[in-house]
Each structure stands twice: as C-alpha cells, then as structure tokens.
C-alpha cells in the first residue's frame, strides 16, 4: 500500500492523474516520487508535493491522507485496485475509470466518476455538480459501474448517462439526468427541478419531493416498487412518468406518491 500525504496546503489545483494503481504498479517509492504532476502552471514531481510512504498492508492499494480538496483527477482512467481518500478530494475523481474501487471518507468536488465505464465509487460525504456527467460539450456519459453517495449531490448529475447505477442517499440539485438515455439513478431525498429534461431512456427514481414536473412528461401508471440494482429495490408507491416527450418519450421518471401529494392531480389521467 502506498500512503500519500500532502506536504502543505495547495493553493493551486494539482493535476494528479498519476495517482492510479495502473501507474504505481511495479514502481518503487523513489520512482513514484519522480512521477510528473502539474501544480497550477508549474510542472512538479509527485514527491515535491506529497510525502510518499510504503505501508506493509496490501489493501487498499493507495491511501490519501490530509486535505486533498485541490488534488484533481485522482484515479482517472483506473482499471483496477482500491483507492481510499481519508478526507475531501478535488474534481474529476475517477474520471473515465473502468474498474476498481474508490472510497472517499469526505466530500468529492465536481465531475466525480465523469464518463465512468466500470468499477465502484463510494462517497461518504457530499458530491459536487456534474456527478458522472461528461466534460462540457461531450456527449459520452457514464456507461457502466456504480456510484454511491451518502450525502447530497449538486446539479447536472448523470447527464448523458447510458448505463450503470447511481445511488444518492441525500438530496440532488436541478437538471438531474439531462439527456440521459440509459442506466438508473435513485435519489432517496428531494430533488431539484427539470429532472429528466430531454431524457430518451433510462430510469430516474425519486423517493423524496419534486416540486415541479416537466410539462413534457406524461403519467403512465402507479407502481409499488422499483428495481434499482441486482439486489436492491426502492419501496413506493411511485407515480411512473414517461418522457421527455420533446424527444422520444422513452425515459422513465418514478416519483414517490407519498412525498408528492401535489402530483395527485395527474391521477385523473390514469
């Protein structure tokens, strides 16, 4: 196990895509310390910024201690291994990762799991905006894997998502599942407006309150429960809405019946 601890408080973003088991594997501590990172517009060595220590324990493979909230791209593109962050972490955590596991004990900033292709990200605190969403302009969203967030998430979650599962135990911001076309998102608490805008497929499950239903969604039925993952179900009852009718209308938006009495007016269309 490699343990990384920042040597000081970072004032500028640190681009550290090398913090990744695929890169670390087979390297000695000295070789790892010589890996290249950018701090702001300066090229630095990983050893200049972090104290690097080899720990005899095997798992997890990489541990980050201290304040890493300015450290970006941790585990970017990783294929296997386990990374644990004891504290907060910066943007682009596990971006485009295809395997392995990342656990964050604190909060993660924006674009965590962006364009993820596999593996597991578990965030004990909150996640920022654009969780699992692709970089601005890109239309390649999360395609597989699982993200679990125990706190709240920001806006624009699961944009262009086409597969995989996102489970949020807290609240979510607006524009969740924008242009989504596959996969499942489950929000256990309340959610911002415009959920599922332009969605053409996939499932959004809201167990909490959704103030305003988009006018381009139409009610389909009421269901007692919804399957979230292999061995997980969300207990309802749920109103099932189909949308976005401005597009193909093949997406499904499940909204809790109990938490949303104001949506009962839709029942007359059933």
């Amino acid at each position: 196990m490699i343990v990384l601890t920042p040597l000081r408080q970072f004032q500028f973003p640190v681009m550290a895509e090398c913090i990744n088991l695929d890169v670390f594997q087979g390297k000695s501590v000295a070789e790892i310390a010589a890996l290249e990172v950018w701090e702001g517009n300066r090229k630095k060595k990983l050893g200049d910024l972090f104290k690097i220590k080899q720990d005899p324990a095997e798992t997890p493979n990489i541990t980050l201690n201290g304040d890493n909230s300015e450290v970006r791209r941790v585990g970017m593109g990783m294929k296997n291994g386990e990374v644990v962050v004891n504290g907060n972490v910066g943007m682009h955590l596990g971006e485009k990762m295809s395997g392995g596991k990342i656990t964050v004990q604190g909060d993660a900033a924006g674009w965590a799991g962006a364009g993820m292709k596999g593996g597991l990200i578990e965030i004990m605190g909150n996640a920022g905006d654009y969780l699992a969403s692709p970089y601005r302009g890109s239309s390649v969203g999360m395609s597989n894997g699982k993200i679990i967030v125990h706190g709240d998430v920001g806006s624009d979650v699961a944009v262009f998502m086409k597969g995989g599962v996102i489970k949020v135990h807290g609240n979510a911001g607006p524009f969740l599942g924008f242009r989504m076309h596959g996969g499942t998102v489950h929000i256990e608490k309340n959610i911002g407006n415009r959920a599922g805008a332009c969605m053409t497929g996939g499932k959004i499950v809201v167990s909490g309150f959704l103030e305003e239903m988009m006018p381009t969604f139409t009610i389909d039925s009421v269901k007692a429960s919804v399957k979230i993952d292999e061995d997980e179900k969300a207990a309802g009852p749920f109103y099932v809405f189909l949308g976005d009718l401005a597009e193909t209308g093949n997406g499904k938006l499940y909204v809790s019946k109990v938490a949303n009495p104001h949506l009962s007016q839709y029942e007359r269309f059933l």
Binding site: P134, Y135, R136, G137, S138, S139, V140
Partner: protein, 563 residues
Amino acid sequence: MELLIKNGFVYDPINGINGEKMDIAIKNRKIVESVHEQRAKKIDASGLTVFPGGVDIHCHIAGAEVNTGRLMRPEDHIKDVVRKTAITRSGVGYSVPSTFTTGYRYSRMGYTTIMNPSMPPLEAKHTHEELNDTPMLDKASYPLLGDWWFVLEYLQKGDLTECARYVAWMMGTAKGYAIKIVNPGGLESWGFGRNVHSIDDQVPNFDITPREIMCGLAKVNKMLNLPHTIHLHTNNLGLPGNYVTTLDTMRALESVATDDKPVAHITHLQFSSFAGDDWATMRSGAEEIAKYINAHRHMTFDMGQVIFTDTTTMTADGPFEYTLYQLSGHKWVNSDVETETSGGIIPFHYKRNNAVNATQWSIALELALLVDDPWKMFMTTDHPNGGPFTSYPKIIAWLISKKARMATLKKCHKKARRNSLLPSIKRELSLYDLAIVTRAGQAKALGLKNKGHLGVGADADVAIYNVNPEKIDIARKYKTARRAFSDAAYTIKDGKVAVKDGEILQHVDGRTIWLDVQTAEQVKVDEEMKRRFKEYWTVEYENYPVTDHYLKVSDPRTIKADV
C-alpha cells in the same frame, strides 16, 4: 541568408525531375542556380527525399465557421492540449485546432501553402485576422460568391461584364483569391428553408438556375484571367445518387471550356460521388465519375478523403448540414449570412463499422486511383469535414500501398467491403505521383507560379522527408513512409529552416495572398451602390472592405482582366 540542400533525392514534377540526386540552392527566400559553397549553410539530405513545400488546395482553417466549430467543441479540445514551448505558443487540437497549432502542425508535415475555402465576404475581416495568427504558412481565401445577390442579379440579366466587374471588386474588397461556389442556388433557397435538387431547378425569387450560376461564373472567371478556376462544391452534396448531378455539372461546364485549360475545380469529390437510391442502398459512383474524368480535360478535383475518427463538419452548405443533423441528432449550428451565403456545423464520427462511412472512405480512394492523371486529382480531407489534416500521412500510406489499403478495408463494414472496388485496383502511387497530388498539381491548378516546384525563381519552400527511395520500397514499408510524412526531417519556409525532425525550430510569419484584379472600368462606389448596401446588408459600406492594415504580411497579385 544562403542555404544549400545537398545530395537529396529530388522530386520536382513541374520541372520533370524524378528522384535525381542533386543540390538545391536557396538565397533570400528564393531558389537560385547556385550559392557560395563555403558561405552557405548546408543541409545534408543524402538518403532523404526532397519535395517542394506542400500545398493544400482546400482546408477550412480560419473564419467564422471554423471559430464557431471551435466554440461548440470543448470536448474535442480537451483530448488534445498542446503546451507552449520556448518557440511555439500553446493551443488545442483536434479536429478544429487553434490558429497557431494549425500552422505548426501543417509545417511539421512539410506543408507551406494552404488555401482556406469558403469565406463569406461579410466575415472576411474575421477570417483575415485568424489567418494573420496562423504562422508558418502562406495562405489565401476563396470568397463565397455563388449565391451573392449581386452575382445572381447580373447573371439573371445576362450581364456578364457587369458581374465580372463586381467580382473583381469583391476580390480586392474581401482580399480573396478565387471564386468559391457552394451548392449554387441551394444556399439562397435555404434562406427560405428549401434547397435545389438538380442543376436545372429554379432558385426562389430569382429567375436563375444552378447551371446558369456555375457557367456564368466560370465565364466571368475566364474574363477576369483569375489564376485559379471556379472552386465548386456541387449541388446535392452528400446525398445518395448524387453522382448523376455531378456528371450533369461536369457536362454543363464543357460548354465554357474553349481551350485546353481547366475551367472548374470540383472540391471534395468523394462527397459528390454517391450512387444508390437511399442510405440503405448507397454505394460508390466512383467508377462512372472516374470514367468521365479520364475522357475529359476541362476540370480538376480533390479527394475529400474520409478518416475514421471523430471530427467536425462545417460547410457553407446549410441544407446539407441539416440533413446530417437529421441523421445524427448531434448538436449543430446553422446560420444564414444575409445576402451572401449560409452555413452549418455539426460534429461527426466516421466509423469503420458503419456501411455508409466505410463506403465513403472507399469512394475517395477509388477516385484517386481510378483517375489516371495525377494532375487532375489532389489529396485532401476537406479538413475538417472528412477528417483533420493531421491524417494526411495515413492517406499517403493508402495511396502508395495496396497493402495499407487492404489492411484498413479488412476492418471495414462487410457491406462496404463487398462493394468496394479497392481489391481490384492495383495502382500504387510513386513518390513522383505523390509529389504531384500533394503539391505540384495543387500549385498548378491554383495558378501559383512560384509554388509547388523547385526550379530557379520559385519560393524557397522545401520539405525534406526521411524516405530513402533506393533503400526502401514504400509500398511494402508503408508504415515507415507514414511516419516519415508525419514528421518532416526538414521544412524550409521562405529560406528559413522552420522544422527539423518534426520539431519547430523558429516562428515564421506566412504571407496572405490575394488578387488585385484590374478591370478597364472599376466598380464605382456611388450613392446607388451605398443604397444597395443599406438595403441588402446589416453593415454600412464603410465597415465592409478589408483594408490593407488587416493583413499582417500582404502579398497582392495584380491580374489584368479582359473587361
């Protein structure tokens, strides 16, 4: 500054030199007979191939369209970020690179002159500002004149002389180099949400057809003695079955050809050579088109090769971009440039396992190989429409090696593979032919007398590649050739060593070439003209022309017109 390139294998098709071992002497930006042996800086080119600097007849690298393409594709840039060095500036790629990166990347491949097609005259200032920031290259732009109301009005009246005077005025005003015609009549129709579907369709609100626009402007081009011919993007571009329209277009232009000189250049011919009735039955029309081209001498062409990659399509052909949007559902931009032209941009991913895309890939190569005369058919990707210009080494490999073509064809969609003519084509281009399709032929078609060759008096633009024609058989070792053509051993621009081993050594400002066409009677900017400006454009006349101070290094070519 004197420079001597010693002992290279020189390929200079314009002067008929085919791989001779000889020296090239350079003095003060020009190629000369000889230089002082001791004083001159020497480049040892023994075992290397010496070509004239590359010339690209058609690549969208600057202007409003390109810049909108840059704006709408952040995801394209993030995967290709270029950091600054002590000599070069930072930038981004990939399919619509920033201006400086464009210059550096072309130069690294040994290119020294490029033509930026499709410049709406209204956007000319912006285009020239971007071209000023594109280093290492000499460049010129073609103003879009095919659907300009002034042209339509005079052609409709049959007043060719008056039309010619206004075109001459526009060349100087927009600082352009050739007449560009895109989907003649179609762009004007697009202003009303319509398109033309054959060369004899009526253009709405004008009593004119695409045939009359093309032939009229081809005649105007001749009257003005412009160095290049009209530069034509055909009607029905990118639609199945359009090879018939292309054949009609070529036949229509026969009437204009009175001597041996070409009268038109059809650009990105691949996009105009589809057979079949719809997308499901779409197949190659290359055989029919090539048969016609081989029997006629009045036109030149370029390929418009498709590369299997994620790229950005951009053209003044607004209705075609709308068709692409309907096919892909991707984000898109569309615009109508007042009384001049239209435009559209949409990202596009060409895929091997897509029957249509793979057929397109095959069509371009079939055209390039079935047309016997390399002086008629040049190598382009219509950057970035078919793929970024950085893919040129790949196309070179496909052209020089059947093995390379078959290796790619093997991975293509089975329908495209079954219908492709490529397995039956044995032709492999030699280095001499390659020098024609990548520089000499393009320079000749453009009428650039001091480009594309290494004779005395030519501009000192030279590209040296790490290919030893005595040692390697490029058809078999196509991967070595591909590497050699991606990173030139040397690129010499204006007598300065700009690139060595694929690294930029120094920043060289290129020139902007434009035509100063002198007609017997100039267009008068009188009250009547200003009134029409007020009526037709949203800008005042005073803000319209590109004045001389807009060009960083201005290189006007004075042309004496017959009118």
